[in-house]
């Protein structure tokens, strides 16, 4: 393949919406600490029989731009925790954790965590009646 063809291929992929990578799905049924290898991953709790806490690593400039998506696929509490005061979420710049833990409102809840290098912005992806619980020290 010539260099020109390589560049054409590259251009074709980037410019015309042909890069549509699959998401990496990882199942966890017990609490888990996210590592750099997990960035860009979708975690689900399918099969969990107890609360599952996902702990994010400390925000750092090296993490900036990395993301993780958490989806509750079990009728159990799902908590996303960060280092002390390192979560930014609804109406709180210094939260410690955010969770789905209200009965009958757990399944189908999701959190998208994006690091900006200083904190993890954790955004709920939920239905209109799903209660988000935020904990701050």
């Amino acid at each position: 393949m010539s260099h020109e063809e390589v560049m054409r291929l590259w251009n074709g992929c980037v410019d015309y919406g042909r890069i549509r990578p699959k998401l990496k799905i990882v199942v966890k049924t017990s609490s888990y600490t996210i590592t750099p290898d997990d960035f860009g991953t979708v975690f689900t709790t399918r099969g969990a029989t107890g609360a599952v806490t996902f702990t994010l690593p400390a925000a750092a400039t090296t993490n900036s731009g990395n993301w993780v998506l958490f989806i509750s696929v079990a009728d159990q509490n799902m908590i996303v925790a960060g280092a002390d005061e390192e979560i930014v979420c609804f109406n709180d710049l210094t939260a410690d954790s955010i969770a789905y833990q209200t009965s009958s409102e757990k399944i189908g809840g999701a959190f998208l965590a994006i690091s900006d290098g200083s904190s993890w912005a954790v955004m709920p992806i939920a239905s209109e009646t799903q209660t988000i619980t935020v904990a701050s020290a």
Binding site: Y16, R20, L23, I71, E105, G108, G109
Partner: protein, 232 residues
Amino acid sequence: MSGENIMRLFNDCMTGGRVRPLLKIITKTSAYTITPDDFGSVFTTRGAAATMTFTLPTASTNLTGEWVLFVNVADYHLLVQGDNEGLVVFNNLTADNIGFKTTSELIGGALLAICDGTSWIVLPLATETQTLSIDTTATSTSTSTTTATHTATSTSTGTLTKTATDTPTKTATDTATATGTAGSSVTLTVTKTATDTRTKTATDTTSASATKTFTETDTTTSTSTTTATGTA
């Protein structure tokens, strides 16, 4: 460009967050079934003049990680349909479809469908006042109990050993001995009550879409009266 430089370029792109591909946008104005070629696409309903239903393929392990985003850009219902019980949505692990159906809450609603190999997990991307509509097919299990009673009577004479078999599978053994004075007649009356408890499982299909399992307990009480007449 050398192979090494190509790899450097690729590396820079992947590690430096420089791969920011355009999303593939597809507009549909009538019902549509998603195919593998559509994975990783954003579907909009711009221009639709009626309810829009997008049907997802059956979830399977080889679809793990595939995703599709649906965005409602018309003031009509937007529905995402899965296989029977094939969707995971809010408070439901076995939903059939999910959508936006409430008047004045239709435009701008979006649904992100991600396959985890077992189901399609469908996450709403909506405002806090946008109402989700979720449909499921009900599956119920019920239990009924019936009791049947029947009576069997037999008569025999003398020293009596009797084995009676009842269908299904009930065996009763009744032994009676008659004694008396030589030359006289003795009448012996034996009343026997047997209880048979059986557990039966029946499958009752009452409609094309629902299979219900009943557990039925059947208690049968069997009463037999035996009269023995003997001469010593």
